[in-house]
């Protein structure tokens, strides 16, 4: 029997956002609010008085694994090694960033450590950013 092989896969993406549940401005507990984001019904915690979100402590980041190796030419293998290295360094950066943000929840730290954005784009940028994090934490 002939078979049709599809390149199907399940892709799952999850982002967790850890916030303080008390409004910084009004000092009251935030409450659940449902809202529409395009077609999608979503939920967030907002201050019932001023509508502000609670202070962000840390946002997790899903790192996309590199595409699997599909050919064995030097160019393909070199790209795969480079992508894998980038992925490993990026994962390490986000792990350290979140640990640092959680540890300093009450202190003023650069917002990029809480949001994860902008995220380093090259291996060199990642090495510098991770080095900075190691020596500031």
């Amino acid at each position: 029997m002939p078979t049709t092989r599809m390149k199907g896969r399940m892709i799952t993406k999850v982002v967790g956002e850890h916030r303080i549940g008390i409004c910084e401005k009004c000092g009251v507990k935030t409450v659940k609010e449902f809202y529409m984001d395009g077609e999608r019904r979503r939920v967030r915690m907002v201050c019932p008085n001023c509508g502000e979100l609670g202070k962000l402590i840390a946002r997790t980041t899903a790192v996309q694994a590199p595409q699997p190796l599909r050919c064995f030419r030097f160019k393909c293998v070199a790209k795969f090694i480079k992508d894998s290295l980038f992925c490993a360094l990026l994962s390490d950066y986000h792990k350290r960033r979140i640990a640092y943000a959680e540890k300093n929840r009450h202190k003023v730290i650069p917002e990029k450590y809480r949001t994860g954005e902008p995220s380093p784009k090259t291996i060199w940028q990642l090495l510098v950013a991770t080095h900075k994090l190691i020596y500031t934490s």
Binding site: T12, G21, R40, H94, A99
Partner: protein, 138 residues
């Protein structure tokens, strides 16, 4: 450690049961995972045996509960994505290493996610989950 998230083998089996119109229930519940160090999501994880040595939280606002919103969306082809959004509100200091997205019977974990790092929740802290799963034929 990278943030890891995956469909579990038992989750796929439950999905197949749903397609066959056999006894199974859809994505309805969510629970936070308790572990002091980051875990690694695995396809072999089950509702009863989450990743590594993680366990389900059973109290403090992090126990199993109904997901706030579950909906459909489009990523590549119309309706190929399921979305789930939820807010946990902690009522005590607890570590959260990840989440399980479960069926309505609360006996199958469809999706397991382990965060990049453990989140140290304190009383009244909130954790907003923004998740989606796509069946991609690209």
């Amino acid at each position: 450690m990278a943030q890891t998230q995956t469909w579990t083998n038992t989750g796929i089996a439950e999905l197949i049961l749903l397609l066959r119109e056999e006894a199974a229930t859809g994505m309805e519940s969510i629970v936070a995972l308790n572990m002091a160090t980051p875990c690694t999501a695995a396809v072999a994880s089950t509702f009863a045996d989450p990743a590594d040595t993680a366990t389900h939280h059973t109290d403090s606002g992090l126990a199993i509960q109904a997901i706030d919103t579950v909906g459909g969306d489009t990523t590549n082809t119309a309706g190929d994505t399921i979305t789930f959004d939820h807010v946990f509100t902690a009522t005590a200091s607890k570590n959260v290493a990840g989440i399980h997205v479960c069926n309505n019977d609360d006996d199958v974990a469809f999706v397991e996610c382990c965060f990049n790092s453990v989140l140290a929740m304190e009383n009244t802290d909130t954790l907003t989950i923004d998740g989606q799963s796509t069946i991609d034929q690209a």
